[in-house]
Symmetry: C2
Subunit: 159 residues, 2 copies
């Protein structure tokens, strides 16, 4: 099956069907050409690990995981303040996904006002540990990349 065919097949596997395909594929190892004998491959469009990868490397999800790793358990509003710029819609959606995938625990305390606390589960801690070096590297290298971009833009504007 070619990549283009996979692409088209991927489009046909609509959202509602995608998860069923994902679950079946994990069980059977049937991910098209790229996944063989139970090995998953994030480069293969239809491989369930690709869908999972796409879900986890969402910008907001990564920032949330890193924030929970750095600051410990937090409430919804604390996360919203700590992760600058995140909308409530995206915070809610990302937390829901992380909870659903077993990376984050959500605990509701029946109080008024409502108090909901989010904390990392072991899987989430593992992933956060891998993400943190990327965050630190970005902070360290931003100066160089901005300089590279200025140079690139200067050269290409002159062209």
């Amino acid at each position: 099956m070619t990549t283009q065919e996979q692409t088209r097949a991927g489009s046909e596997a609509a959202q509602g069907v995608a998860q069923e395909a994902m679950e079946a594929a994990v069980t059977d190892g049937a991910c098209g050409d790229a996944c063989v004998e139970q090995a998953l491959d994030i480069f293969a469009q239809l491989c369930p690990s690709r869908a999972m990868f796409a879900e986890l490397v969402d910008k907001w999800s990564m920032l949330i995981l890193m924030s929970l790793a750095a600051c410990g358990p937090q409430r919804f509003s604390e996360l919203q303040r700590g992760v600058g710029g995140v909308s409530r819609k995206m915070l809610t959606q990302s937390l829901r996904t992380l909870e659903r995938d077993g990376l984050v625990r959500r605990t509701v305390y029946p109080e008024t006002p409502p108090r909901v606390v989010y904390e990392l589960l072991p899987l989430g801690g593992e992933l956060a540990a891998l993400l943190e070096p990327i965050g630190r590297w970005t902070e360290r290298r931003t100066g160089q990349m901005v300089a590279a971009r200025d140079e690139f833009d200067r050269v290409h504007d002159e062209a």
Copy 2:
């Protein structure tokens, strides 16, 4: 400045202005409350490292960097086949961003048909080295996360 004020200020700093702000902020370390004394902070919405982080952790950019790390220099069409599902629009856009930021080198060979080769620059190699463990981890843990999701959905559908 509160997060909400930063959020509004961020909206006002439109795309056309965002880069100027980014460049000035890198120089001056002026990133609002969260960035102090030359320290960059990806959690701060207006910090230039945040914009850089958002740009680099794009799903397609990460897959491209990892593909170049794994397979060496590649042509546009090779990347398109190797990174299953990427549209030409996104492949072009992501490569342009990576080249512009100094992570990837683009070499055009004046031939027919056109031959363009993309390869990692040192900065890109650094980042790819940090991304690769995340890809491997996702492949390793996909089964567990799919199982967690099934359990979550079963419990919440019953509710």
